[in-house]
């Protein structure tokens, strides 16, 4: 029934109530405020899928070791998979330079004052990368546990790092980003012996408190390099997607053993 005058006009799905006497219109819509971003993200994902690229959005607070983990990851996997990185930072080209030094293409997006990457920024970047020659694309988001969680970039998987120097209650403090994660990486775990206030079991308990079964793995990207569980997870994701690398691996040299990478 019409809310304005009580007549029996059936309500359309998206209702517009017009009362000429009051010169007033009410439009009821249910429209996601991220609709425009989601549309661009879907477009990005199509680009990735058409080129057999597995895209991973890497998120964390600043300084938790995203770039360090990527450096170690590239050294461990670059002989088997073709890797590229999109770097997001407010300023400087430093992270992209670090990645390029590992021998893979990297593109830096400097966001200026923006606290997150969005789908349109990634779209601009992906057209500057040779997507057809990439198996695994990391998008290193701006260091921030709040805003990046809300913006779909077109990635296939979200990975959030939690360094052990940050506190084991982070999942309870930042539920949105940890709920959006497909994997949580506890980083800098080689520091655990000298920290008396971080318990991995408490971090896992806080994560489970968000009602998610998201796996949590441990890594150390520098001293006492330990990225085996991370590498195994990446490989299983790549194999699940049946990407181009599987076809080419016959000619690819065996990958470098992650345990021998510690300088």
């Amino acid at each position: 029934m019409c809310k304005t005058c009580g007549c029996a006009i059936p309500a359309p799905a998206q209702q517009s109530v017009i009362n000429p006497a009051l010169k007033f219109t009410i439009v009821d819509v249910v429209q996601d405020l991220f609709a425009a971003n989601n549309l661009t993200a879907a477009h990005n994902r199509k680009h990735f899928d058409e080129n057999g690229v597995l895209a991973i959005n890497l998120m964390s607070s600043p300084g938790s070791g995203k770039t360090t983990l990527l450096e170690a990851t590239i050294l461990a996997l670059r002989t088997r998979y073709r890797i590229a990185v999109i770097e997001g930072d407010l300023e400087t080209e430093r992270d992209a330079e670090r990645i390029r030094a590992c021998g893979v293409p990297a593109l830096q997006i400097t966001t200026g004052t923006a606290c997150h990457l969005d789908a349109s920024l990634v779209h601009q970047a992906l057209h500057q990368l040779p997507l057809a020659d990439i198996d695994l694309l990391f998008i290193e988001n701006v260091g921030n546990l709040v805003c990046p969680a809300s913006f779909d970039l077109g990635q296939h998987l979200n990975v959030t790092l939690l360094s052990v120097t940050e506190g084991d209650d982070k999942p309870a403090k930042y539920p949105v980003i940890f709920r959006a994660s497909d994997l949580v990486v506890l980083s800098k775990t080689d520091l655990l012996p000298v920290l008396d206030d971080f318990l991995p079991s408490r971090a896992l308990s806080a994560l489970r408190g968000l009602g998610v079964a998201t796996p949590m793995i441990h890594t150390a990207g520098r001293r006492d390099l330990a990225i085996g569980a991370w590498i195994e997870w990446l490989k299983s994701q790549l194999e699940n997607r049946d990407i181009k690398a599987d076809v080419q691996e016959i000619n690819a040299p065996a990958e470098q053993d992650a345990s021998t990478l510690c300088a």
Partner: protein
Amino acid sequence: MHELSVCHALLTQVADIARAQAAEAVECITIEVGPLSGTEPTLLLNAFLVMRSGSAATATLVIERGPVKISCLRCGVNSETPPNRLICTHCGGWRTRVIAGDTLCLKRIEMRMPEPTDRTHCLNSEPIQYV
């Protein structure tokens, strides 16, 4: 901080609808910002007051919050929970599904229309069908 981006998206959607309806001005906008949507209502309102323009230059923003609700995958009971403790209040199970509270959407726009002479003409040319 990303509330500015969200506000920009909101005002774009509102302007599109106001244009499609040939509205003179947008009076009131209602949105839902769930506690698990990742957006802060106060910051969004502040952004809105700075950014509103054009047909929405004097519009008011109504923000509906609503509770977080989960459905337990073990016992099937629905319950209301805090945003960072999505545990079934009935059986304590942590395998749950969020059924409300993570929404960020535009729900309703109230608009002032141009002078009734135009509208009368419009209504006369397309009579309302009664069922």
